[in-house]
Amino acid sequence: MNIEIKGVGQSLYPVAVSRFKDENKLPVSITDVVRQNLARSGYFKNTEVGNGIEDDQVMPNFKIWGSRGADALAVGSVTEKSPGQYEVRYRLYDIRKGESLNGLIVSASADNLRLAAHRISDDIIFKLLGEKGVFSTRLSYVIKEGKRFRLVISDADGQNIRNALNSSEPIISAAWSPDGQKIAYVSFEDRKPIVYVHELASGRRIVLSNAKGNNSAPSWAPDGKSLAISLSKDGNTQIYRVNADGSNLRRLTQGGTIDTEPQFSPDGKFIYFTSDRGGNPQIYRMSAEGERGEPARRISFKQPYATSARISPDGKYLAYIAGVGGGFKLYLMNLLTGDTTAMTDTSFDESPSFAANGRYILYATQVGGKKVLAAVSVDGYVKQILSIPGSDVRQPSWGPFMDQ
């Protein structure tokens, strides 16, 4: 997967990551992964690009590192404890204050060294900026190669791709369970859209819903015990809620038009969704128990077409796709003020999802006629394009924080 970074944050924190001692024996360079993560975050610039190794057992010379332009220094080493089992040690220093910020000791086998590097990157961003990093979270997306569709799981940087499902038919609308152990998705492998819940560790999956007609648009309740889905079993597409094992189906919307793409608010009290009850598709919000008690309230007003609502983890922002001037663009709405901002300069944006820390939005788009993934920071400063030469990439979804 290729990554192209466009634009950077305003003032970048200069950090030196010296090459981890003895990592040259590893299949993965911890140092390179950490440096790439920091650069891609939009917050840091690397002052070191070479192979200089700093001993991680003694205090560094703060004066020398300061004169090289670094405000912080990360040093580390790798030890093979038993064949294929490694211990990665890392320590962080505040160069300006001349003090140690401590570090981590991570045990890793050869195939999860990238995750060790992501954990170290998360520790650096947390200690220097007080922000919970998303380097060790995961993405799902669909790769279309010829007539084949692959639903894959990758690291947050799009690398380290593992297959979850391989099919000759489309797969759309993947949604991570809140604990990151499962994904729900829509597969067309049986000639129609059916919703599955797939456990990543075991590869086992269940049919969540195969009612007559369409079954689509799964969204997990924050407690992971139920999902909202869209079904057309009674004619038009309506929103239902179902337990995570497929039991206890109940209808939430009661209209004669299209109601679809449900999304729970982070507190689980509301469901945002797309409805064309007013003539055009717009975003509405109802109680998570449905419209019986109180009808849904319209949320989007500024564009004639608004779909694919996603709510930021703090509940303050709504990302959505707006149809404007023949194109479809990612927009961000401040839910308190109702102000909306166009986030991209592309025309075929789709499938937004927030990073677990709310700082970035991942989405699908087209660049030069090719289907690619993109991520934009919520402040609009940093944009990244993730592409796979010769393949279309689509339907991304950014996974949650994983318990460590």
Binding site: N112, R162, I172, F188, P193, E261, S351
Partner: protein, 169 residues
């Protein structure tokens, strides 16, 4: 009516490389060569004997095209729908799936619902002609399976469509 099952191979659980995280371990399910069934799909032994595969049969035409942002069926399809309804009423064991499609403008899930509106319009037209609901299922492929990949009006028009599929099991 003689029906045979198309061979739909479903190869489950071919583990693709163990994926290991510090905490979680992830492997995959491989589903290979799923559903090769297409419109009118059946195996070759009785392909010609199915009336919908006979170019002279009124059942041969199985696609209904729609205008942009529309799901009303144009009058030109009335004869075709009547022939289909007569056949279905004479053959109560015969089931059909109606697959709605959209052009690729717009987002996936909303287009899925729009395509379903088209297939449901065909289902309701058949129901009005007396076809029992139990013989029909209206579904949508949205914009996911375009017949024509182009980015122009000719391609879009080709994709604004509902297909009637006579199920052979």
């Amino acid at each position: 009516m003689k029906t045979t099952s198309p061979q739909r191979r479903l190869a489950l659980a071919s583990i693709l490389g163990a994926v290991s995280f510090l905490g979680a371990c992830s492997s995959g399910v491989k589903l290979d060569d799923l559903s090769t069934v297409k419109a009118g799909g059946s195996d070759s032994s009785n392909f010609a004997s199915q009336p919908w595969n006979d170019p002279k049969s009124p059942l041969f035409q199985r696609s209904i095209y729609f205008d942009f942002d529309e799901f009303t069926i144009k009058p030109q399809y009335q004869n075709m729908l009547q022939a289909g309804a007569a056949f279905l009423k004479q053959n109560p064991q015969q089931k059909i799936m109606i697959q709605g499609n959209t052009d690729d403008r717009g987002t996936a899930e909303y287009n899925l619902a729009l395509g379903q509106r088209r297939s449901d319009a065909v289902r309701r037209a058949f129901a009005a002609l007396g076809v029992p609901d139990g013989q029909m299922e209206a579904v949508s492929l949205g914009k996911e399976k375009p017949k024509s990949e182009g980015n122009n009006e000719a391609a879009w028009a080709e994709n604004r469509r509902a297909d009637i599929i006579y199920l052979t099991k």
